[in-house]
Amino acid sequence: MDLYEYQGKQLFARYGIPVSEGSIAATPAEAREAAERIAAPVVIKAQVLVGGRGKAGGVKLAADPDEAEQHAEAILGMDIRGHTVHRVWVERSSDIAREYYFSITFDRGAKRPLLMLTTAGGVEIEEVAEKTPDRLARLHVDPLVGFEPFHARRLCFDAGLPAEEMRQAADIMAAAYRAFVETDAMLVEINPLIVTPEGKLHALDSKYTVDDNALFRHPDIAEMRDLEALPPEERMARERGVTYVKLDGYVGIIGNGAGLVMSTLDVVAGAGGRPANFLDVGGGAQADEIVTAMEVLLSDPDVRAVLFNVFGGITRCDEVARGILTALERLDVKVPMVVRLDGTNDVEGRQLLADAAPPNVHVEETMLGAAERVVELAGSGA
């Protein structure tokens, strides 16, 4: 789960990482009030879960409350790379002497947290890694031993931080590590980590991702989720507990198991079609779950045909067939469906479909055959 800048900064503040004074605003009037409270020049920052808002005009400096209100007016509702701005963060403007970068990522390859620090901050870290790799200090922390003072020293010396800033940097890194572990984060990024003309270090932006699987122990963070930010189909999927990712094609795809569904997308693409989505009903799905999944998938108006690809292990194919038939009864299904059932109780499943013989359902024996068929049907059904 990705957090907005202001949410990440709330967590920063909780762990003692210095951030600017600020407020969240959903309307230009709220932005004005925030600027009045701060009583100093402020920055109005679009809150979106995507990069590049600066270039898109989503970050503006305002000298006074009037200007804050005007900028908020312009930014709220803006579309930034497909994301609508619903809220702006209004914070006290900072004077910047230097910009650094610090992050902790969950390095699954090394199976350890990876810490990175560079004095070349304010740009994408990939750029630093590519252009000035010697200015990028990197190290891994043993997750059982944790973050020790020597890690801080090594990062500071390797990145070439001025001696007088090391104490502050070490405190920020230790706090960020604590936040990373205690909030089950997959990413904690401070970019830029600024140095003010007075020599104070300070987080000017935040990128913060929390492990979905650990949200049960962080109810406060789980509540930060903004369902508004999702496309309507994905919102529906999330509410109903279905694993769904919207894509930009027109062949709706349902299957059981993440790997098989991903493979189905690829095979459909190989057959010349464009997948409209990824939808995994998971293992052991019951008829009801099949109906729910169908409903989510069909709520996407781009879907012209549906491919049902199930390999029964725990999942029983007769149960899936029953789900399909129920869905056809309950929902007004206008698009053709190709169904391929294999594995546990596949014969029974196919028999159920053959007996009911719904007019727009086409049963195929193989995955490859099913993919070819659905592409053909989607093409002619437009």
Partner: protein, 292 residues
């Protein structure tokens, strides 16, 4: 002796009295797996269709000589269950549970790895050595006994490929589902290494997917160390970056972890990569028929 699970397996099931736990335990036993005990705290002294239940894994080890554990407990307790099994001296731990927090697994991995414990999963379908033992949820009927090792991050996709191999008359030495989470115990490299040393395996089919760099590491390992031929399949060419595709670990981060990059890395080491499960099975059949 096939790898991970075999005739020496003495299985204890953690969470045996749960609905899923008891269902799959009995299926595994029916298949011929030597299920010696179950553990559910507070239910010690009962039995599940004749399988004795204990309160702790330590007791199951002491009384029944369990050497392999299958973890079937809910995600928020599963990490603790793995640590309990490790502490009790279990040598092979198969964790089926999906949804364990990644930080829990980081700590557990760091703890068990230097102790020489074989941890399979979490979020995996388990391991099956056809004709000998099945530990997990792999539908054994799909797979025939044979000499092809199969290793995969995905469950149903593995069954698909097993089925396609069976259709071509080919069977498996062991099927190992390593799991779809960001941090799993056995990696592709670990399992390839086991297959390489396994006299019962003549060919390996490796089934990867987007996310992480384990397939790339496997490619390097194959190039440097393997004499057993390997055929591969990679899922997720159509996956968009930054989205989790069902498995917690199946995500392209920035430009890292794409299916294309994995395919290129494997092909650079001479591994043939099928464009579909069907083609992967066909390539395996060709490699199997070719003189070693």
């Amino acid at each position: 002796m096939p790898i991970v699970v075999n005739a020496d397996t003495r299985l204890v099931v953690q969470g045996i009295t749960g609905r899923e736990g008891s269902f799959h335990t009995l299926r595994n036993r029916e298949y011929g797996t030597n299920v010696v005990a179950g553990v559910t705290p507070g239910k010690g002294g009962r039995d599940v269709e004749g399988i004795p239940v204990y309160d702790t894994v330590h007791e199951a080890v002491r009384r029944e000589g369990a050497n392999t554990a299958m973890v079937f407990v809910p995600p928020r307790f599963a990490g603790d269950a793995i640590l309990e099994a490790a502490d009790a001296g279990i040598g092979t731990i198969v964790c089926i549970t999906e949804g364990i927090p990644a930080h829990d697994m980081l700590r557990i991995y760091t703890h068990v790895r230097p102790r020489g414990i074989t941890l399979l999963g979490p979020n995996c379908p388990g391991a099956l050595s056809p004709g000998l033992a099945n530990v997990g949820i792999i539908p054994a009927q799909v797979f025939a006994r044979g000499r092809i090792g199969l290793v995969s991050r995905s469950g149903t996709l593995t069954y698909q490929i097993g089925k396609e191999l069976a259709d071509l008359g080919l069977g498996n030495s062991t099927i190992v589902g390593i799991g779809g989470d960001p941090v799993v115990g056995l990696s592709f490299v670990d399992v390839l290494d086991l297959f390489e040393a396994d006299p019962a395996t003549d060919l390996v089919v490796m089934v990867g997917e987007i996310g992480g760099d384990e397939e790339e590491k496997a490619a390097a390992f194959i190039g440097e160390r393997m004499r057993t031929p390997v055929v591969a399949y990679i899922a997720g060419f159509q996956a968009p970056p930054g989205r989790t595709m069902g498995h917690a670990g199946a995500i392209i981060s920035g430009s890292a972890g794409t299916a294309q990059a994995k395919k290129v890395a494997l092909e650079a080491q001479g591994v043939r990569v099928g464009a579909s499960p069907t083609e992967a099975a066909r390539l395996a059949a060709e490699a199997f028929a070719a003189p070693g």
